[in-house]
């Protein structure tokens, strides 16, 4: 890494007007290394994978014994560590993007073509709810609110979508639309509560939303064992399945039955476009950003800060509810206690990694979707448990949140990388 200092050290504007400008390639490299947002993000991913590799090595009992006699035969331990980590991360890649071995066999005609698209399909499938939950966090963040309640709002969204999905007998298209809207509505309700309490009583949204996460989870646990919800044919805690007419249609079903990517990803892209429009062009989006940047200035300018808080949380809740909806109308198809998995908490990280910008959130959701799709493959093929992906995700966000730290590690120059700072600069209670 010592080369970075030398490339960035010379060739500044100080060269004077007589000196010819440095060649384009050099300037390009300089700009690349001068710690812009993309560089910091890429380096953050590299650092996170490095720490993940250390964890893989620590957790492996065979490798631990090898490190016991490290000084006698260091090549043993290092070589075996390399093999172990390389195998795990290769599987991560195969599960997330493409498996070259499978592609080769598809070309030779041994496997159906659908198999070649399976990793991408899984990545998009995992990314779908994360786009919604990431947006739910990001939009509140832009409004100066810290919405940790994405998980609870997504749970309520899943409940709403599922109840409409198996309780209401509606015709084909209408049923899906109703279920989607029910998800958004219930999520919005769960977002309204902290927004309202914040506006009226000043209760801090972090605590209220976290508590509502638990209330939502416990409520789900109660709901699915009720007679009018529970699946009568099953002994475990699971609801009746969602009707065929309310399921999100799979996009690549014509290629093969195993490709799970569905209409949800299309809805997710539409949501990104809508939120981008809202933030950029709509009056409400302007007020939201103004309140986020400085509540006092917004109030003086005649905006209703409290009203904005409530509306922001309602919109955020609706988005999170849609995220839960894509889980229950997509892969899960019935309510279980863990129906939405961790999409709410992951959405917080996605929103932070995307720097609370709509398309940034989309990119971050794709990255996390890839990590999770690949993580499943890594767990099955390399025996590295899925929690490692959670650690890597958190570390990526830690490093991205602290560009100064990444710059210190890689000795990068300049400070153009945008940090993740709260919109109003420093939260208080």
């Amino acid at each position: 890494m010592s080369t970075t200092t030398s490339t960035t050290g010379g060739g500044g504007p100080r060269g004077g007007r007589h000196a010819p400008p440095p060649p384009f390639a050099l300037r390009f490299l300089q700009q690349l290394w001068s710690a812009n947002t993309v560089t910091v993000t890429v380096l953050a991913i590299v650092l996170a994978l490095l720490v993940g590799a250390i964890l893989i090595i620590i957790a492996d009992p065979q490798l631990r014994t090898m490190y016991g006699y490290f000084f006698a035969r260091p090549t043993d331990a290092l070589g075996a560590s390399w093999d172990r980590v390389a195998d795990a991360y290769a599987n991560l890649f195969r599960g997330a993007i493409v498996d070259p071995g499978v592609v080769a066999r598809v070309i030779e005609g041994e496997l159906p073509p659908a198999r070649a698209f399976a990793p991408i399909s899984e990545t998009l499938r995992f990314a779908t709810p994360l786009v919604f939950t990431g947006l739910a966090f990001a939009i509140a963040f832009r409004g100066g609110l810290f919405n940790i309640g994405v998980q609870g709002q997504a749970i309520l969204g899943a409940i709403g979508a599922a109840l409409v999905g198996f309780l209401l007998p509606l015709p084909v298209v209408l049923h899906l639309v109703a279920a989607v809207l029910a998800g958004a509505l219930l999520g919005a309700t769960w977002g309204f509560i902290p927004g309202f309490l914040k506006a009226r009583t000043g209760a801090h949204e972090v605590i209220v939303t976290i508590m509502l996460n638990w209330v939502g989870l416990i409520f789900l646990g109660w709901l699915i064992v009720q007679a009018w919800v529970a699946d009568p044919t099953r002994a475990d805690a699971i609801s009746r399945p969602v009707d065929e007419s309310a399921r999100l249609p799979r996009l690549l079903a014509w290629l093969g039955p195993g490709l799970r990517v569905d209409l949800g990803i299309v809805l997710a892209v539409l949501a990104v476009v809508a939120v981008a429009w809202l933030l950029r062009r709509a009056t409400f989006g302007f007020e939201l950003r103004a309140v986020g940047l400085s509540p006092d200035a917004a109030r003086v300018a005649g905006m209703s800060v409290t009203g904005t808080y409530v509306m922001v949380m309602v919109v955020a809740g609706a988005l999170a509810g849609l995220g839960g909806m894509t889980m229950v109308l997509g892969p899960a198809l019935a309510l279980t206690p863990a129906v939405i998995g961790n999409v709410g908490f992951d959405g917080i990280l996605v929103g932070l990694l995307g720097r609370a910008k709509p398309w940034g959130v989309f990119a971050a959701a794709l990255l996390f979707g890839a990590l999770q799709a690949g993580g499943n493959r890594m767990q099955v093929s390399s025996g590295v448990s899925l929690e490692l992906v959670q650690v890597i995700q958190a570390l990526i966000v830690v490093f991205v949140a602290a560009p100064a730290l990444v710059k210190a590690i890689f000795a990068l120059r300049a400070a153009r990388a945008r940090s993740i700072a709260a919109a109003d600069g420093g939260h208080g209670w």
Partner: protein, 426 residues
């Protein structure tokens, strides 16, 4: 458990002459709650007696009251306490009247619950004992939060410090076959997360709430990963700590009610109480405390008179991390005797609510923690005696109580002035 001052809040804006004082708001809320309790719980209760005993078991002398009568009478008593808050010079009795009113509402609720349950005796000794036990992690967490925020650093990551503490306690206590090593290791585990928090929040000036939340995810991920890879395959080698022993103080433990709670207890109880006293004395009667509070209120002024702002913040965040880590040991060395993924269940955040409810004061933290512990103990006991309320809704009680407290009872609590604001010299 409803927010008492949501009703008059609109009127408060309309009245310029501060007609709605704190007493009147709380009084109105309490009065309405009391009347609702009297009507609702009275209608729902049955004529069977509700019985209370001071002992830890259901045997022994009991105080009995007819269920319907009790629910109505105690509901009305709460309403009377609310009305009394309207009296002139009620300010002096505010805390007392409010507490009495809340207790009356709770008793009214209990009369309904007990008269409808197959087992209609409530052993107060038992409930108070488990209230204190459930309060323990909240005391540690609340004190950790208080120390951090008094010096201007928000420590959202208490949940992460809990889970690291719980993990390290289980691991080290099993491997070293000693709970004492486990507790020390738990402090170190909490310290690790606190060190990351301090570095990122103080040195690299990252938003403190962002760092805290991300560190929680990190801590949950690391402990979950190591649990799956290390503990799950060989639980007896890595995940089977023993429980901390109970120490009895000879004569004092025979005092009814408080004796068994405070003097037939384990190290966590003694440690929590000692820490409350230590932190209280430390914050308000030592040089360290004065400097800590100065740094939390006005760091620039403190800096001007020569206090090392950043150094003190580092020290306090690390100290808080160690305390929260010990609180994490509660989960694996007392509440259960094995580590499980995500076992802290949001208690780190309830600890933060404890800190706010306790108004950043160690003694307040203690009282608030016991209040939350009581709500949990009540939920557990009522669930065990076959209450008509589904157990899931009883389990919501601590979380709902937290929301009610944060939204209603504390009003707009005033944190230290520089809370959450990074200090950049110059």
């Amino acid at each position: 458990m409803t927010a008492p001052d949501t009703v008059p809040a609109t009127a408060a804006v309309a009245e310029p002459a501060r007609f709605w004082t704190r007493e009147r708001k709380a009084g109105t809320g309490l009065g309405v709650t009391g009347l609702v309790a009297a009507a609702l719980f009275g209608a729902l209760a049955s004529d069977r007696p509700a019985a209370f005993t001071l002992a830890e078991t259901t045997a022994g002398d009991t105080v009995e009251i007819n269920g319907t009568l009790g629910a109505v009478v105690f509901g009305l008593l709460a309403a009377v306490a609310g009305a009394a808050l309207w009296a002139p010079r009620a300010r002096r009795w505010f805390v007392l009247l409010l507490a009495a009113g809340i207790v009356a509402v709770v008793v009214s609720f209990l009369c309904w619950q007990l008269s409808r349950s197959p087992q209609n005796v409530l052993p107060l000794g038992n409930v108070i004992r488990s209230s204190v036990i459930f309060a323990l992690p909240l005391i540690f967490g609340g004190l950790a939060g208080t120390i951090g925020e008094r010096s201007g650093v928000i420590n959202i990551a208490i949940e992460g410090q809990f889970i690291m503490g719980a993990f390290f306690a289980a691991l080290v206590a099993t491997v070293a076959a000693s709970v004492w090593f486990g507790i020390v290791a738990a402090a170190i585990g909490g310290l690790l997360i606190a060190a990351l928090l301090a570095m990122l929040a103080i040195r690299f000036v990252v938003d403190q709430i962002v760092v805290g939340v991300v560190l929680i995810v990190f801590a949950l991920g690391v402990t979950g990963f190591l649990f799956e890879q290390l503990m799950a395959p060989a639980p007896t080698r890595y995940n089977a700590p023993s429980r901390v022993p109970t120490w009895e103080v000879p004569a004092l433990s025979d005092i009814p009610l408080v004796g068994p709670v405070l003097f037939r207890a384990n190290i966590f109880v003694y440690l929590a109480l000692a820490l409350v006293v230590l932190v209280y004395v430390g914050l308000f009667h030592t040089r360290w405390g004065l400097r800590t509070r100065a740094v939390g209120e006005h760091p620039a002024a403190a800096d001007t008179v020569g206090v090392k702002v950043l150094g003190l913040r580092y020290l306090n965040v690390l100290l808080a991390g160690a305390i929260a880590g010990v609180g994490g040991a509660y989960f694996t060395l007392l509440a259960t005797t094995n580590f499980n993924k995500g076992m802290t269940a949001g208690l780190g955040f309830i600890a933060l609510a404890t800190m706010i409810f306790g108004r950043w004061n160690p003694v307040g933290v203690l009282l608030a923690a016991v209040f939350f512990g009581f709500s949990r103990a009540l939920a557990v006991y009522l669930g065990s005696i076959g209450s008509p309320i589904p157990s899931q809704f009883l389990n919501m009680l601590p979380y709902l109580a937290t929301i009610a407290v944060v939204a209603g009872l504390v009003g707009r609590a005033r944190p230290p002035a520089a809370d959450g604001k990074p200090y950049i010299k110059g």
